[in-house]
Symmetry: C2
Subunit: 227 residues, 2 copies
Amino acid sequence: MNSSNIRFSNLVLYSYWRSSCSWRCRLALNLLKIQYEYKAIHLVKNGGENHSEEFHKLNPAEKVPVLELFDNQQNKKVYLNESSAIIEFLIENFKNEKVSLLPEDSFLKAKTRTLYNHISCNIQPIQNLPVLNKVAESNINKVDWANFWINKGLENFEEMVKETKGKYCVGNDITIADIYLIPQLYNARRFNVDVSKFSNLIEIESNLKDLDEFIKASPENQPDAEK
Amino acid sequence: MNSSNIRFSNLVLYSYWRSSCSWRCRLALNLLKIQYEYKAIHLVKNGGENHSEEFHKLNPAEKVPVLELFDNQQNKKVYLNESSAIIEFLIENFKNEKVSLLPEDSFLKAKTRTLYNHISCNIQPIQNLPVLNKVAESNINKVDWANFWINKGLENFEEMVKETKGKYCVGNDITIADIYLIPQLYNARRFNVDVSKFSNLIEIESNLKDLDEFIKASPENQPDAEK
């Protein structure tokens, strides 16, 4: 049974197959059983389709993901950006009986937000494409740069997660923290971080990676995936 | 009248006067009328007090802010980190009749979160102290680096805020978006960004800066402030 909302309908996700922030949203949409249309935005081709005039109107920061929705109250299409804002919005507005993605307990809820913010604020922004392009103009090797920040950030995450870990990052229910971890581990491997030393993270990943929602959301299974 | 919570009490904020993420929490605490104790952690002296063994136990990422609380349910002191997680926790658990910091309307709530995440994910992480220290090892000038990212990020914010702006970032009530904007403008000036061109942001700032809660939270009014 799909989740739906009276006010918001016709969801379209502007996404790039390899963008970790788009990936997070695909995971949340799948886990909450929300139907959506996929619209590919190529971040590299022609200098980046995200820099087009048309896309700029949807998100002045010229980044994916963008979530388009029809708002029946305002009677028009509306656009949301920033993956954390999008996912918190989906959780609050498309409630699903079986999956909540945030624990009910107020302390564990805060811990879940701490974990995902650690990735969204302390790791991913420093290794994303625009920053790496800027680093490439210097005498620092961009793979070394990404490797350094991801390694440091995941070392901290490995230690932080001990407090709440069960089968997943926080107990035995999937939360937003898991949604952020999986794409970050993918990026870690892309930049040659030895993730085998993060035994908690690897264990959590092994409990998640074969679930349908995770397989469906992975980069290689998107319509715009490249070899 | 101060806000309180049955489960959580005895709040202590581990803060550094100039840390923009600590500043955000001070603002939220003041606006929600929550009493707290201030504990200074010096980020520079002796290589950074945040890197001590003692502080590492409170936050493995060795960053301020950390919020300590006594949890009457678990009957022990607990610790939260990451300013966004801390502030969302305070809003949900220390409700204040007059101030909510997040709009009730689900669309505006998501827009508020988009705005603050734009600062917490796209601007601040790239110009914070550990990143600048790393940049200083390269042939890039660290002031130029910080200037570039803050300028670009605030240009985007200036455009994004037009959709929701009233007296403040989102309508005429103070929200988390305002809490993130003020410290980011301070950092912008520190790194020589010409903020006068951001007319919307300057107007919002002028409506906020003389409020008691903002004066009390500003870096120069903290016990550990330096000349």
